[in-house]
């Protein structure tokens, strides 16, 4: 049986942390994402999540995103989304959480918004 694979790439930019996430985010691998995001929240308060490559996300993934948002807001920062896939947009909408994140078409636009 194929395991759920999530790919995470982190780019440490001047004012923003750019995190590119791809693959499948579910409860079997969300701890991996959560650990990376927690580590980032400890040193940067502005984060862009580039999520064009996410082909599946469950509420476990949403909780990791919300947890990051909470930490960034505490430090007067924000989490913004770049090019989220249709699945990400859909699940955020279904959960009623779509208004929580500003969404940009590209990672450059999202990074530039800070």
């Amino acid at each position: 049986m194929a395991e759920s694979i999530v790919n995470i790439e982190v780019e440490d930019l001047k004012r923003v942390e750019l995190v590119k996430i791809g693959g499948r985010i579910d409860s079997s691998n969300v701890a991996q994402l959560d650990n990376v995001l927690k580590e980032i929240a400890g040193r940067k308060n502005n984060v862009v999540l580039e999520m064009s490559g996410v082909d599946y996300i469950s509420s476990a993934g949403l909780r990791a995103m919300i947890s990051l948002l909470r930490e960034c807001k505490k430090q007067k920062g924000d989490v913004r989304l770049a090019a989220p896939s249709e699945r990400v947009v859909e699940v955020l909408g279904l959960a009623g959480l779509d208004a929580l994140f500003e969404v940009y078409d590209t990672d450059a636009a999202a990074v530039g918004s800070f």
């Binding site: 579910d26 947890s67 807001k73 009623g96």
Partner: protein, 155 residues
């Protein structure tokens, strides 16, 4: 139409994808499109996660039995476990999250572990029922109507 198909897996997060694939195959056979199949997978994922987190309390404590069948216009998914009784009806919907900083902090902090998943299930399925008894354990029935799907295909 189709007889009941059933799969039993250990209550472990890594097994949830297998449950999703099993349901996806059945849903594809029943005639659901990719979008609807994704939504059914998501519901099974959320329900399985809740079983491990709430009914069993942790991984590798018991098994999850998932089955599906088509009855008339209904695609019926049944998930069973032998853990603690966990009635989804008793879990309140997630709180509304305000966008200003302080409220968002408070509200997001209050999001319950199972609250979001159940909210998604309630939004996506046409019918959700839960029952529990000491002999048969917990039983979650989730029903999606095929009617809307075939109507969509015909148009």
């Amino acid at each position: 139409m189709g007889s009941e198909q059933s799969l039993t897996v250990p209550g472990r997060y890594k097994e949830i994808k297998r449950i999703c694939e099993f349901i996806a195959a059945g849903a594809a056979q029943a005639g659901f499109d990719d979008e609807a199949i994704f939504r059914l997978e998501l519901c099974c994922d959320e329900a399985s996660t809740n079983i491990i987190e709430h009914a069993y309390g942790e991984e590798d404590t018991g098994s999850i039995v998932v089955s599906y069948e088509i009855s008339g216009d209904d695609f019926i998914i049944v998930m069973r476990d032998q853990g603690r009784a966990f009635d989804p009806a008793l879990v309140p919907p997630p709180p509304t999250i305000n966008l200003d900083g302080t409220s968002a902090d408070g509200s997001t902090g209050q999001l319950r572990i199972g609250g979001l998943g159940l909210h998604l299930i309630r939004n996506l399925m046409d019918e959700v029922r839960f029952s529990s008894d000491s002999r048969e354990g917990n039983k979650l029935v989730m029903i999606k109507k095929l009617e809307a799907q075939t109507g969509k295909e015909a148009s």
